[in-house]
């Protein structure tokens, strides 16, 4: 494991170059800091070190000291302290930086070691790269090119092992491709806390498998696919679907809970193929839940709202917004707005303006569920804190809209404008919905959209750019990976349109990119903790913002990876 302390910096020498690293940093990481690649398979920065692949062998030396006097022994040739090089190579992953450590990675010995390990890994590895899903992101392929011999001396038969083993509902294993690095085993045990994988048999016949009666079915099983350096573990959902080099990568955020795991959305020609985790050492390390990886399926779901409608008749977005504006103005004083923790910070900011314009109270609906203490928190919405920071709400939301319910019954409320929340889920009955006018802005059909007089389709997180504030009060941004359905505008444009329509000012058509920076100008001007910020200025790994104003609120989250609730 790597020490992250930055106070105790020491100097080590990698290939003749001095580099300062925290004491205890291993040679692989130290070398990376010096710009030197130390190839490896079994080592993973977030897992324990086992040192079994032997790919990271390097030469190690320490400054010579006279054993009797403890004085430095100088090398007359260079005038510097002599280095005692160890005759045997050492593994970089398990060699920790100590003061004066010298490492060589370019010598003949190191070259031979790497060639040897590459050759050994390949002798029993199937040559099926043309049909292997890992091709293009395969460490074995990359390092064979970088460090291998380039030809094979092996003429014997290769090992035969199980193919297409179903390890669990989402993971398929090809044992012949497995190089026995044990990353998946360590991940299951150490991170997912679900010790189901192990090797059986021994030597070269060692085979990865689940323990008898067990399945790899925990909600983190697909991380084993991510960290598998070869094509042994594959995602049953993604395998054989697309070559990875055709896919475009877009940074995104897992919106299934307030953890806000950082992700990458892989798409091609407007279609998403998979979602994988993106490293953020303060949030999700290199992991994400399986449940967050299938969220892209909502983009092409059958119940997707793709067209605006007024009184159940399709219409243009502009008509629907204008109709909504008219209905809202008419119902002034007897209307409520229900916003959502799934709305982005930018949307919540604009909704607040809509609410102010209409003098309408705003509620959020809480979605509290099971947390797994890893990367799914108890709050199953990504951005309740955004609503607090933007001032859209001042108290934490409740699961049921009881006040709204009684206000409908008493006739105090005649219209409800919902931004993505299904009111039926929040305790409003069908009879109550029938009694009032409903305007629904959302992505998919539900009871509320069915009951709505005006339906305005919006975009999923994969089709728009914006930001969420997670449980740590970390502002994190995501970008549009694929275009939205034809005729559906960016949600910020729709909201600005509604706002200008309510204000009676002409609506200027704007590009999505423009609206984002425009919204951020307003955000920065009105929210003190956003003052120096712009959307493009948010770092890829997010930014902690001041949360002191909300310290007393009884947030529902309990401990997860890298998060401890304020006591």
């Amino acid at each position: 494991m790597i020490a992250t302390s930055t106070v105790d910096l020491i100097t080590v020498n990698i290939d003749g170059k001095d580099v300062a690293v925290p004491k205890g940093t291993n040679v692989i990481e130290a070398a990376a800091k010096a710009g030197v690649d130390v190839p490896h398979y079994c080592y993973h920065p977030k897992l324990t070190v086992v040192g079994n692949c032997r790919m990271c062998l390097v030469e190690m030396g320490m400054p010579a000291v006279d054993p009797a006097t403890k004085a430095a022994v100088m090398d007359p040739a260079t005038g510097k302290q002599k280095i005692n090089w160890m005759p045997r190579p050492v593994i970089g992953c398990a060699t920790n930086a100590s003061p004066g450590l010298h490492i060589r990675t370019t010598t003949q010995l190191v070259k031979d070691c790497r060639e040897g390990v590459m050759e050994f890994l390949l002798v029993n590895h199937p040559l099926d790269c043309p049909i292997c899903d890992q091709a293009g992101e395969c460490k074995l392929q990359e390092q064979a090119t970088g460090y291998g011999r380039g030809y094979s001396r092996y003429i014997e038969d290769k090992n035969v092992k199980p193919k297409r083993t179903v390890l669990g509902p989402r993971v398929t294993l090809d044992d012949e491709r497995c190089i026995l690095c044990s990353r998946c085993i360590r991940f299951s045990k150490e991170v997912a806390k679900d010790d189901v994988l192990g090797f059986i048999d021994r030597g070269s016949t060692s085979t990865l498998t689940c323990f008898p009666g067990k399945k790899l079915e925990n909600n983190y099983s697909l991380n084993t696919v991510d960290i598998c350096p070869v094509g042994a573990l594959t995602s049953t959902d993604f395998r054989f679907k697309m070559r990875v080099w055709f896919l475009k990568q877009t940074n995104s955020i897992d919106m299934e809970s307030s953890v806000g795991a950082n992700t990458v959305v892989w798409s091609r020609e407007g279609q998403i193929y998979r979602i994988t985790p993106r490293q953020n050492d303060e949030v999700n390390d290199t992991w994400m839940p399986d449940s967050g990886r299938i969220l892209y399926k909502q983009v092409k779901a059958n119940n997707r709202l793709t067209a605006a409608s007024v009184s159940h008749a399709s219409t243009s977005l502009v008509d629907a917004v204008n109709k909504a504006s008219a209905l809202l103005t008419e119902a002034k004083g007897a209307l409520r707005i229900v916003a959502s923790g799934k709305n982005t910070v930018e949307e919540q900011f604009l909704i607040k303006h809509v609410a102010q314009q209409l003098l309408a109270p705003v509620s959020l609906v809480s979605h509290v569920g099971e947390g797994d203490k890893i990367l799914v928190s108890k709050d199953h919405t990504p951005n309740v804190r955004g609503a607090l920071v933007t001032g859209l709400i001042s108290e934490l939301p409740k699961p049921k809209l009881t006040e709204l319910s009684s206000d409908i019954d008493s006739g105090k409320v005649k219209l409800v404008l919902s931004f993505g929340e299904d009111l039926a889920q929040a305790g409003i009955t069908a009879a109550q919905l029938a009694k009032i006018t409903v305007i629904y802005c959302g992505t998919h059909t539900n009871t509320t959209s069915e009951a709505a007089s005006v339906v305005i389709p919006t975009l999923t997180v994969f089709e728009k750019s914006g930001s969420f504030i997670n449980q740590q009060f970390r502002l994190q941004k995501f970008s549009a990976a694929v275009p939205g359905p034809t005729g559906v505008s960016d949600d910020l444009i729709t909201l600005t349109h509604l706002l200008s329509s309510l204000q009676g000012t002409p609506h200027a058509t704007t590009q999505a990119a423009g609206i984002l920076s425009q919204t951020w100008k307003a955000l920065a001007a009105s929210i003190p903790s956003f003052a120096p910020l712009s959307f493009s200025g948010i770092p890829a790994t997010g930014l902690l913002i001041d949360s002191t104003a909300f310290a007393k609120l009884p947030f529902v989250e309990t401990e997860t990876l890298h998060f401890k609730p304020v006591a």
């Binding site: 070190v49 086992v50 040192g51 079994n52 692949c53 032997r54 790919m55 062998l57 045997r88 190579p89 593994i91 398990a94 031979d112 070691c113 060639e115 040897g116 390990v117 050759e119 050994f120 890994l121 002798v123 029993n124 001396r153 092996y154 014997e156 038969d157 090992n159 190089i179 026995l180 192990g198 090797f199 048999d201 021994r202 030597g203 070269s204 016949t205 060692s206």
Partner: protein, 452 residues
């Protein structure tokens, strides 16, 4: 002709000597333990240091030094583990101790435990020794009954218990950290060192001493006769006696106990073991268990060595080699576990290597890439050769594969599986080159008994 000097095996061949407690005590057993618990533990450690005892398991590491490396400041318990996983092909000394004189081991263990303040000790016995395990269990029960093991032994304040752990049939469990993993109930994958040196982070992450069966028996005799006296047995730096297990093509194979370094390989094989079988001549010998590098009869070894404080030239034939740790290491092999494997002129070195390679590829734990893949590859090459498909370049390839393993793995198995190949090919390269012609001319693939 040198005489055997039996310390460990003093009694085992005596008529009427049995492995029960009564017989052991009749012959002076447990007297050393009784007197040892009256002494200071540090004194006992000092005796062992003075004795110069070197481990009899294979590496020949100083026993006193091993004990002195134990972390005694951590506050954690210290464990003793007896490595009775005697699996090195050609070695059968511990087996006889366990079968015929188990109390000698238990006494040695208890003295060691007392000296090192160990409160819990384990005997890790290989799975293929079911009879040995039964005998040990019985002996242990007897020793407990007689208060030599357990609470407040022999009326002292000191308590220590011993547990027997049976292996499940894996050679790698003889590697001390693999053994520790196995006791902990895991796959016996040897641990990376650093940081997992048993003396600091051993069994259950506590300081642990792992000693061979024979080594611990020697401890008993060292404490009994005094380290000073023991150090006079054998030769300087190679003290005490050592059991040599001779197998293969000699007239009288078996176990022999000699003062270390006081007998040469020639004396052992020709005088003690009766020389080659009728009509045969010696061809090669592996002096320390199958993983030691093979020596070829007719070889000469020249160089300088330290005798006392002076450097002396030596010029030895194979027969002149003193059977001690340092001399065998000097000529590029090792004393190892004491298993002397003799091959005469009837042996094809390619086939002998095929046999050894089959063993090591079967026993590689599979953790490190070079050993896992390399041992199997070497086996496949030698297998192919003996099955009639040899190529002249196979020797070179074999050597090259072996060179890619040694020194690049977590444990010493990398060396164990590659040293035979390296030495067989270097010393009998011609045989590997010409094996193709030989096999095609004289033997068909069908005639050869398939190898595992």
């Amino acid at each position: 002709m040198p005489e055997q000097r039996r310390i460990i095996f003093k009694h085992i061949d005596s008529p009427g000597y049995t492995n029960d407690l009564a017989c052991y005590q009749k012959n002076g057993g447990y007297e050393t333990l009784k007197s040892a618990v009256l002494r200071k533990p540090e004194e006992l450690i000092e005796e062992v240091k003075k004795s110069g005892l070197r481990g009899r398991g294979g590496a020949g590491f100083s026993c006193g030094l091993k004990w002195s490396l134990v972390d005694r400041k951590s506050g954690k318990p210290i464990y003793l583990i007896v490595n009775a996983d005697e699996s090195e092909p050609g070695t059968f000394k511990d087996r006889y101790i366990l079968h015929q004189d188990p109390h000698q081991l238990i006494e040695g263990m208890m003295i060691t435990c007392f000296a090192n303040n160990v409160r819990q000790a384990y005997i890790y016995i290989r799975g293929e020794f079911p009879e040995g395990a039964r005998i040990l269990e019985k002996a242990l029960a007897e020793a407990r009954q007689a208060n030599f093991v357990g609470a407040n032994i022999v009326g002292s304040q000191y308590s220590c218990d011993i547990f027997i752990h049976r292996g499940a049939g894996a050679y790698i469990c003889g590697e001390e950290t693999g053994l520790i993993e196995s006791i902990e109930g895991k796959r016996p994958y040897p641990r990376i060192k650093p940081p997992y040196f048993p003396a600091v982070l051993g069994l259950y992450q506590c300081p642990t001493i792992v000693n061979n069966v024979e080594t611990l028996c020697h401890v008993k005799h060292i404490v009994s006769m005094g380290g000073e006296a023991y150090s006079k047995i054998g030769t300087p730096g190679n003290t005490g006696t050592r059991i040599l297990c001779v197998s293969g093509h000699v007239k009288r194979p078996g176990y022999y106990e000699f003062e270390v370094g006081k007998i040469t390989l020639g004396e052992l094989l020709n005088d003690i073991c009766g020389g080659p079988l009728p009509g045969r001549t010696f061809k090669a010998v592996i002096p320390g268990g199958s993983s030691a590098k093979v020596l070829r009869f007719g070889e000469r070894f020249k160089g300088k060595r330290k005798v006392g404080t002076e450097m002396h030239d030596y010029d030895w034939s194979l027969e002149d080699l003193p059977m001690d740790f340092d001399s065998l290491a000097m000529v590029g092999s090792m004393a190892g576990s004491g298993g002397v494997i003799v091959m005469d002129d009837s042996v094809s070195m390619v086939e002998a290597l095929a046999n050894i390679n089959a063993f090591y590829s079967h026993e590689s734990c599979g953790q490190c890439t070079p050993c896992r893949e390399g041992s199997l590859w070497m086996k496949r090459i030698t297998n192919r050769m003996v099955h009639g498909d040899a190529r002249p370049e196979d020797g070179t390839l074999l050597k090259n594969v072996a060179d890619q393993i040694a020194g690049r793995t977590i444990c010493a198995f990398g060396e164990a599986c590659s040293w035979p190949t390296q030495s067989f090919v270097s010393k009998f390269g011609e045989e590997f080159k010409t094996y193709a012609d030989r096999s095609q001319a004289t033997v068909s693939a069908q005639e050869i008994i398939p190898l595992v």
